[in-house]
Symmetry: C2
């Protein structure tokens, strides 16, 4: 494996649309959402680890998930777990991780990737990422993997690329925020739009230079820590300085400003597993179109349901169609799939009504 | 308390319409179906124990429930638990219990009562039963408590009484099997029909005499055991002889044959808790008409549901109306209330599909 290859897994999110399985104490990436025998972060780590050396994979997460990371990824040392003492969106933590990596290896190229997405084809993923790594090793560019849209999804940001660029990596024209439905349809019609999957590839040299150029203040804040990074002094520095960082995403901070961005249309199947419905889409179905994780289902006049329970629990349903049925030790959710976006709000409702 | 008062609690049933809570291993009478803090058999025992001495209450049940009885009724000794080595309907076990009691106390009067019904008003219950006890102490009659029908229920047997009899205990004309709907309506219109609640009162002298007269063979079978009853020899006798007994109900064996039967219209509220729906009827409802046992409910567009879970479990439902939602450790049931009679069959379906 190439010693210059690094990966940064983003593992600080809460995934509140997957309540009650995903909670602030135990979010989605630490669950075996697909019933596949390993959790999403384990799957993601494994996928990257086919071409990135184990010790070169960093996990960016919140302090409260430190133990979960070490428990689920026993091959990782505490030094590889980069903890944000405060929630400051993606830009500060990416800069911080890049500076840590650069101090170790100034020739590093790195991938930044979410830890909670579904990608089945490891080989295609490795091939695409390595193509970007190669470009970033030789050119001062920022790369991203885009997903070829399958429908006019209004829940994703889009990446518009230059139609004139040939095969492979294409020059990005602009990043476009989540569009309304009509706009999304026009994006699809134009043919040069990809979904932004939050997967970025660059050399540490280039990304640090980009921060220097486009986020001078933020760069100055984290630059002061360089002598401390990867030493026992790092913790104290980060605890006092990190909270001062501007709360800004990498998209706004860098990608929308830089002129040298390239996108590669992913050659693998991808799903952000953003909702119970998208998970349903990825799972095998029984003949009635019910998708089961853990549960053993006896269904009468019941189709299109997403049923999740602990392993082996028997679920008997009659006359329930297109529902999300999720059973946990202390919570049972029976909710229409079409309202899956509202699940986020239930958490607040439950807190208000029951104080938990 | 009157030392001649005895009670026999029938506690061998399975209550399969209350699956998955009630199972063959742990039937309905041993569950706190109402979320009241005690189980149905505990409630029943308590109700009888206000006028029947503790040591005069026998529990008739199947061998497999012996431990459950002793655990839930710690005031009861093993001698009070009368175990049927085989399922032979109600006649044999009532005769057996009557002979045991008669041997101890030939002047005994006894009540036979189901252990899994709901009766809230203990005082009214005691008053009605004592009125029957008094009659049975002085006259050679069989008494029963009937329930004034509130609707044309086709699920119960009916007792037709002689309109001419005055206040209080009325002479029974005949027992009528579960009627069809039109017949049930005509019963209600006639005004001299009560529901058969399976509560019987008689002296041991009279019931034994009735068996002698109307069930000669059965009497002969159990008569042979008299020297053994209430001694260490009883167990061996019952194990060899009980299985030979005819499988017949007390209604067919005695009540439909005897000319000296009286019925008292119960002055208490009664519910047989035969189905989830009848339980729903007895429980308090939240403002949306949802009845909860154990569960804490967050309901959106959800009314008329019967929800039972372990204590404190949060249940979130949306768009579910008039359903039975029952959650147990290993089983979750989501079933329309109107199909509650089919729940019995689910057990077979689950066994067939999952082998458990």
């Amino acid at each position: 494996m190439n010693k210059n290859y690094y990966a940064v897994l983003m593992a600080g999110g809460v995934g509140s649309r997957f309540w009650p399985i995903s909670t602030a104490d135990y979010p989605k990436q630490f669950h075996d959402m697909l019933g596949a025998g390993s959790t999403l972060i384990q799957k993601t780590f494994e996928r990257l680890n086919t071409f990135v050396p184990t010790e070169n994979i960093l996990i960016l997460t919140n302090e409260r998930y430190n133990d979960l990371v070490l428990e689920q990824l026993p091959q990782v040392t505490q030094e590889q777990v980069v903890l944000e003492p405060a929630m400051r969106n993606t830009a500060p933590c990416i800069l911080y991780a890049a500076l840590k990596i650069k101090k170790k290896n100034p020739n590093a190229v790195m991938i930044v990737a979410p830890s909670d997405h579904w990608i089945e084809d490891k080989d295609a993923f490795a091939k695409d990422v390595e193509a970007c790594f190669k470009k970033c090793e030789t050119e001062q560019v920022l790369c991203t993997l885009g997903i070829t849209p399958t429908f006019a999804n209004t829940g994703f940001g889009y990446i518009e690329f230059d139609k004139a660029t040939g095969h492979g990596l294409k020059k990005v024209e602009q990043f476009r925020e989540k569009p309304d439905y009509e706009t999304a349809k026009s994006f699809l019609a134009q043919g040069n739009f990809l979904w932004n999957a939050g997967i970025f590839i660059w050399s540490v040299e280039t990304i640090v230079q980009a921060f220097k150029t486009y986020q001078r203040e933020q760069y100055a804040l984290f630059e002061k820590g360089i002598p401390a990074y990867n030493t026992p002094e790092e913790k104290a520095f980060i605890e006092s300085h990190y909270p001062q960082a501007e709360n800004i995403s990498i998209d706004y901070a860098i990608l929308e400003k830089s002129p040298a961005i390239f996108v590669l249309a992913a050659s693998f199947d991808w799903n952000d597993l953003g909702t119970w419905g998208s998970l349903y889409g990825k799972l095998d179905k029984d003949p009635d179109g019910n998708a089961l994780v853990g549960a053993r289902l006896l269904a009468q006049d019941a189709t299109g349901n997403m049923v999740r329970t602990k392993k082996g629990k028997i679920v008997v349903v009659d006359g329930i169609n297109d529902y999300i049925i999720v059973d946990k030790e202390d919570v049972l959710l029976i909710y229409p799939k079409r309202k899956e976006q509202d699940i986020k709000q239930i958490v607040a409702g439950v807190k208000e009504k029951f104080g938990t």
